[in-house]
Amino acid sequence: MKRQTMQSVLMAATIASGLLVGVPAFAAGTLTVSSPQDPGSWDPIDTFLINWASVSTNIYDGLTYRGPDMKLVPALATKWEELDDGKRIRFTLRKGVTFHDGEPFDADAVKFTFDRLLGDEGKKGPQRANYSVIDKVEVISPDVVDFHLSAPDPVLLTKLAGYGAMIVPPKYITEKGDDYFNAHPVGTGPFKFVSYEPKIGIKLEAYPQHWGGAPKLDKLEYRFIAEPATAVAELQAGRVDIVIPPTIPVGMLPTIAGDAKLKVVSVAGPGVDALRFNPKSGITKDERVRRALIMAVDRDTIIKTILAGQAEPIASFQGARSFGYDPSMKPLPFDPKQAKALLKEAGVKPGATVQIDVRGNDATMIEVAQAVSAYLGAVGVTATIKTYETNVLLNDIIPAGKTGEMFQQKWGGWTFDYDNTAYAMYHTGQKWNPYDSDPKLDAMLESQRSITDRAKREQILQQIAHYVADRVLEMPLYNSNAIYGVNKRVKNFEPAPDNRMRLSGVSVE
């Protein structure tokens, strides 16, 4: 009797659970993605949030395309040639392409896009600065355009593959207006817009006429979920198929690994972390001390333990994918003995103090800073950790030169070009370079900006990296991975290092 009761209770519970959950969560061919932020507008000129790009890469095309393999390939432009010593680029456009609303894509659309980006509409957005080298776009014929540049820009072709350079429909925007376009984007990409609910999500569907072939999915939906634990719970509950970065912290990896339905997919991203030294005050004034502090810290162990292996050691402020990376350059070794000797030589007494300033919302970095502090303690330097709210650290503490002896720098641009970070970090007068001014370094940083000869430019960027390491401006820590949590029913998913993931080749079971 008792057993029967138990059974009926169980049965009732099963039925109830079936009723509560209702129909299976997925229709055939729908992929649901959890993204940590709603960019608020889908207009390419409005934001620079990477989570704008993780959606919009599916809606829009650029003249060029760069996929997960980081190779630049033709997209809306089938070929291009540099003229006038790199000051003019001629693009031949793809024929027969239409926007999602039926409007044809041609040279006028390209001109419209860049006139808009560089004109009044683009003025208040964050995008314009990246394309300001473009003087004007000239229509040569319906499928040929010339870009006139004020100076050669070696990174321009990469920049044309994303963000502000996404080609937008002239007629649609002129007729419907900017506000409407913000919330109802139209492009030429493999997925077309269906609906958008601010702070909740955006839904797309396949655009079978895409020039690159029809997507394998019928529908592609994004939900905005900021809290990592919530996003992972949705993934575990099977209501989300992919959780994209930056969401999942290293600490949650075991949860995903422990679930048979799920897997962790990761790839080295653009983000690098370093602890920059304050060369103006405290014991870090002395170059030998800075070198000693680096050698005192076992960065490989930190990566293996605290970062669960989801990072690579770095010798300069860039990862291995970055243009300007020198594979022959090795990080300073972990050598506490040598560190102690250097400290002694520099006259640093045991018990000398340093303060490490870090971003308070960066849980991983706080743990890393604690480990660094312990390692420094082992060579007789007492380190205290001070956490700041990110905005305060970036807007006030660093620019005003109010940091401790060491402070966190965490950067990386989607272009994966060392110039992007190096210039901002080391050039005199830059916002986040409050202490250092080195004319030689300035000259090197400036010189590479207008060289279009890749090999020559790469060489200069590598020289910059070596020069910075020789002057020991920072303690390079690691290049962290972009971490994706993925349901195993998702097939053919290739993680994009820069979060600009195009999901047309992905399918679901």
């Binding site: 109830a16 659970s17 509560l20 959950v21 932020q37 709603d38 960019p39 608020g40 507008s41 207009d43 409005d46 934001t47 620079f48 949030l49 990477i50 003025k123 208040k124 957005g125 964050p126 995008q127 314009r128 600065a129 990246n130 506000d179 913000n182 919330a183 609910e197 601010p198 702070k199 909740i200 939900r223 905005f224 979920i225 900021a226 809290e227 634990a229 919530t230 719970a233 949705e234 575990q236 509950a237 099977g238 209501r239 709210e389 905005n391 305060v392 970036l394 807007n395 006030d396 950067w411 641009g413 989607w414 272009t415 110039d419 992007n420 970070t421 210039y423 901002a424 830059q430 916002k431």
Partner: protein
């Protein structure tokens, strides 16, 4: 009554001005929204920041910005979000019902649980049901709401998969967030109901009702409870304000598209227009609820009405 309402209305405006002034001023001390917008682009020059600030109207003085905000308020125009330029009124229009729905559901959960439990504790004062309820309420009080929320998600969304872990999709979505908030409110409310009941149960008119031979049920729920109503309603009303504060955390854990989520994102991005509007609307709401409580007194207690 009209004079009373007018006074309350003036008070509401005063509260809103003070609150928005403090918030607008304070958030401007802590960071630059232009930088938050431009950050992803790698090297940001001061010119870029100046250009973006100009676009957002941040180059004007604080007084000018604040008065523009007040002027907008008069026409229910809260301006546009710095993040993407969505009109703030649109964001509020979809977030406010979500938050109110959750707040009322939580309050309802708490009232439905705490009244019978509180009465039971009062009736069995000093005996085991009373002790058990008091211990439970202490345990409930000690739960941090984010912890409780996480445990509920783990159990009901992942282990048994009965409820959606987050979002606002149907009535199922309300269960866990409302329970999280409700349980924590219940912990304090039980004690309150118990104390109020103990007061009343000792009074002479209760003795009279019992002497009349009325059933215990009628004595407790009809006569005793009604006389506890004034302190309880005051307290539930006050609680509503606290509830709106606490909802930020619960909304974040359950990815609830409400005012808390809006505020949380706005603070992170230094999205001044959104933050100012959220604070403004919430403070107005708290003032209105307090007003409603005052009016409710009159409806419940005829003695107050005639005064």
């Amino acid at each position: 009554m009209a004079g009373f309402l007018l006074k309350r209305f003036a008070l509401a405006i005063f509260v809103m001005i003070v609150v928005t002034l403090v918030v607008s001023f304070a958030i401007r001390m802590t960071g630059d929204p232009a930088l938050m917008l431009a950050q992803g682009s790698g090297s940001v020059t001061e010119e870029d920041l100046v250009r973006i600030r100009e676009g957002l109207g941040l180059n004007q003085s604080f007084a000018a910005q604040y008065f523009a905000f007040l002027k907008g308020l008069l026409t229910f125009d809260f301006g546009r979000s710095f993040l993407g330029g969505t009109p703030v009124s649109l964001l509020i229009a979809s977030a406010l019902p979500a938050t109110l729905g959750l707040a009322f559901a939580s309050l309802a959960v708490s009232i439905v649980i705490s009244i019978p439990l509180g009465i039971a504790a009062a009736v069995h004062r000093g005996r085991w049901p009373d002790q058990a309820i008091r211990i439970l309420s202490l345990v409930g009080l000690s739960f941090p709401n984010f912890w409780l929320a996480t445990m509920l998600v783990l159990l009901f969304a992942i282990v048994v998969n009965w409820l959606p872990p987050s979002g606002m999709e149907g009535w199922q979505s309300f269960v866990m967030p409302a329970a999280t908030m409700g349980i924590i409110l219940t912990a304090t409310n039980v004690r309150l109901v118990r104390t109020a009941m103990l007061d009343i149960l000792g009074s002479q008119f209760i003795m009279v009702t019992r002497a009349k031979g009325l059933s215990e049920r009628v004595v407790l729920y009809k006569h005793a409870l009604r006389n506890c109503a004034i302190p309880l309603i005051t307290y539930f009303g006050l609680q509503f304000g606290g509830l709106l504060g606490g909802i930020v955390v619960v909304e974040r854990v359950f990815n609830w598209p409400g005012m808390g989520t809006l505020a949380f994102d706005a603070i992170g991005a230094r999205d001044y227009p959104v933050l100012q509007a959220v604070i403004c609307v919430l403070s107005l709401l708290i003032v209105l609820v307090n007003l409603a409580v005052d009016i409710a007194y009159g409806l419940i207690d005829p003695r107050i009405r005639t005064e």
